[in-house]
């Protein structure tokens, strides 16, 4: 199972490299079969152990029923303030990080709408920094946190309705290795 996965991954990477050799440079293999795969295999032993015995705690980061499965913090239009409804999500992750000082997160800020790509990068950064600051207030160490921005470049919803825009006014909490 694992071996086959690996084989396909290698073939894909080799082929991608082959087509790039015509001229253009190519960035590292796409995240779907590249770094994400590596991260999953690193945490695999914990998962199988838990399934086998039942007495070992499930990694709450992998548990769909854990409050930690909620990784997105949503914002109001033109705002970078962490609103009331989102504070629990931030607090849950902050508590987990306090209890796991070796874990690190990247907080990825996003924006809706149109406008300058670079200015939107700044607005997304402001949202990410706002979540980061809230976590530091709760007591998370600065070296566990990095705030970055995707601006308007990686929208979750690509439509043009208010519901789509609301989906994109967001900061995502990504743990190291994810």
């Amino acid at each position: 199972m694992n071996l086959k996965h690996l084989l396909i991954g290698t073939a894909t990477v080799a082929l991608l490299a082959a087509c790039s050799s015509t001229k253009p440079l190519e960035t590292a293999a796409p995240t779907e079969n590249g770094s994400a795969g590596a991260g999953q295999s690193a945490t695999l032993p914990a998962d199988t152990g838990a399934a086998g015995q039942g007495t070992v705690a499930v990694d709450p980061l992998k548990d769909p029923n854990s409050p930690l499965s909620k990784r997105s913090v949503y914002f109001d239009f033109d705002s970078s303030a962490v609103k009331q409804s989102e504070q629990q999500t931030v607090a849950n992750h902050a508590e987990y990080l306090k209890g796991h000082p070796n874990r690190k997160v990247v907080i990825q800020g996003n924006t809706d709408a149109r406008g300058s790509r670079e200015y939107n990068l700044g607005l997304g950064q402001r949202r990410a920094e706002s979540v980061k600051n809230a976590m530091q207030v709760i007591g998370v160490k600065e070296n566990q946190l990095e705030a970055v921005s995707f601006g308007k470049e990686k929208p979750k919803a690509t439509g043009n309705t208010e519901a789509d825009y609301a989906q994109n006014r967001r900061a995502d909490i990504a743990y190291d290795g994810e």
Binding site: A18, P24, L25, S116, L121, G122, E129, K154
Partner: protein
């Protein structure tokens, strides 16, 4: 194993499809022209359809037309074709309305060809300029651009831009392709392909490198790529986001935006990636730096007063002066290479318009007509502005004269062309 085989086949197909997109040239279309255009007749060159790869005069006519400064007089207006000065029937050309006319020929010269041309004033019957080029037949397009440059300069007194290049990001399906093409959209080459966003390409003053922001490391990082060797290196990868690269006029430094202070601020770093010095000091977003041509000032966007507006500040430090006063959202400033004009994007009534502003008087005008435009940049002779425009969900490029009298549309059939940047006169 069959799965792997199928996958390989699928990947090969993908490769081929992507290569097709990478090679696809842009389509060019001239949309309107000014009133006071110079009437020129560019007569077909002798042997140009048989001796060289591409006939020269269609390229020359196209180049001159897209500046908005010329009007073409039909070469068939005068009965006799002319390849030599003595063959020119001046009264017939003047009767057809020509103010000037160009003649030329292609002659075999060993394994190469000799391409020569002359430009005459139709009223004075006087030669204005001439040139002779001995090259391989494959290089006719390049020679045609050079002849167009010489004609443009002889008539307008300004340097021509027909051998310059543009860079932009082509979004094709899920791929981001950083491309470089001739200014007329031809000869597009992909210099970087990624599954993650690429934004903000910026040309080095020597025309040999492009700085850009890539998201391949799951965060914005500033890279510099050499166009000759293809090698690239990271110049800014600090904790947080790294973006908005802009080369200093001497090519030694880059202004970039870093977030190490907790908000987006402008820094100046060595072009090789050494030592960062903070230039702006605010609690706001300061971004999109653009150098003045003398390298002493930085134009930039800041929302220190609420909405984003354009400011200018000495690179050495000092207070910032606000330059944009109309509208609540002004972004993406660029200064013309002659230092006289500022172009930027203004949001007004939900539309994002290209604005050009006279720096001395502050007078400004809206240049674009579409509802959504982004990232203006000037041609190196300051006579045209390039920007991206959304047309019914598809992004294309426009090059327009700053007075708005002429516009050229550049588009790719299967993809969105975004974040353009006009390169310098220099070529590596």
């Amino acid at each position: 194993m069959p799965i792997v085989k199928t996958l390989i086949r699928a990947m090969l197909l993908l490769c081929l499809a992507a290569a097709g997109v990478a090679r696809a040239d842009m389509t060019i279309e001239i949309v309107g022209g000014g009133a006071n255009r110079h009437a020129i007749a560019v007569l077909p060159f002798q042997n140009e359809t048989t001796q060289v790869r591409e006939a020269l005069t269609p390229i020359i006519r196209n180049d001159l037309l897209l500046t908005g400064a010329f009007r073409m007089v039909d070469p068939a207006s005068a009965a006799n074709p002319a390849f030599e000065p003595a063959q020119i029937n001046y009264p017939a050309w003047r009767g057809a309305g020509a103010q000037s006319l160009a003649i030329g020929k292609v002659e075999a010269a060993g394994g190469q060809v000799k391409i020569s041309f002359r430009l005459f004033d139709a009223a004075q019957q006087k030669q204005l300029t001439s040139g002779e080029f001995t090259v391989t037949p494959e290089r006719s397009r390049e020679v045609a651009h050079t002849i167009a440059d010489m004609i443009y300069e002889a008539i307008t007194g300004q340097k021509g831009i027909f051998n310059t290049r543009i860079s932009y990001v082509l979004k094709s399906g899920r791929d981001y392709l950083l491309q470089v093409a001739d200014m007329d959209g031809r000869g597009a080459q992909t210099i970087l392909r990624s599954k993650e966003p690429i934004i903000s390409p910026a040309w080095s003053p020597d025309g040999g490198k492009i700085a850009y922001v890539s998201f391949e490391a799951k965060k914005p990082v500033v890279w510099v790529q050499n166009l000759v060797t293809g090698q690239r290196h990271i110049v800014a990868n600090f904790k947080g986001s790294n973006s908005a690269p802009a080369w200093s006029p001497d090519g030694r430094q880059l202004a970039v935006v870093l977030t190490t202070s907790g908000t987006s601020q402008i820094y100046v770093i060595d072009a090789n990636g050494g030592g960062a010095r903070r230039v702006t000091h605010s609690n706001a977003i300061d971004t999109e730096p653009a150098w003045s041509p003398d390298g002493s000032q930085l134009y930039f966007v800041s929302d220190r007063a609420g909405g984003p507006q354009i400011y200018v500040q000495p690179v050495a430090g000092g207070s910032a002066r606000r330059l944009s006063w109309d509208g609540s959202y002004n972004v993406s400033p660029k200064v013309s290479p002659d230092g006289r004009t500022l172009s930027y994007i203004r949001r007004a009534a939900g539309q994002f318009r290209v604005v050009v502003q006279d720096l001395a008087s502050g007078d400004n005008r809206v240049l674009s007509s579409g509802a959504y435009n982004e990232r203006p940049s000037f041609a190196p002779n300051s006579r045209m502005v390039l920007f991206a425009s959304d047309e019914g969900g598809k992004s294309v490029l426009y090059a327009a004269t700053p007075d708005g009298s002429s516009k050229v549309r550049l588009a790719v059939i299967n993809g969105d062309v975004q974040d353009p940047a006009w390169g310098p006169f220099n070529r590596p």
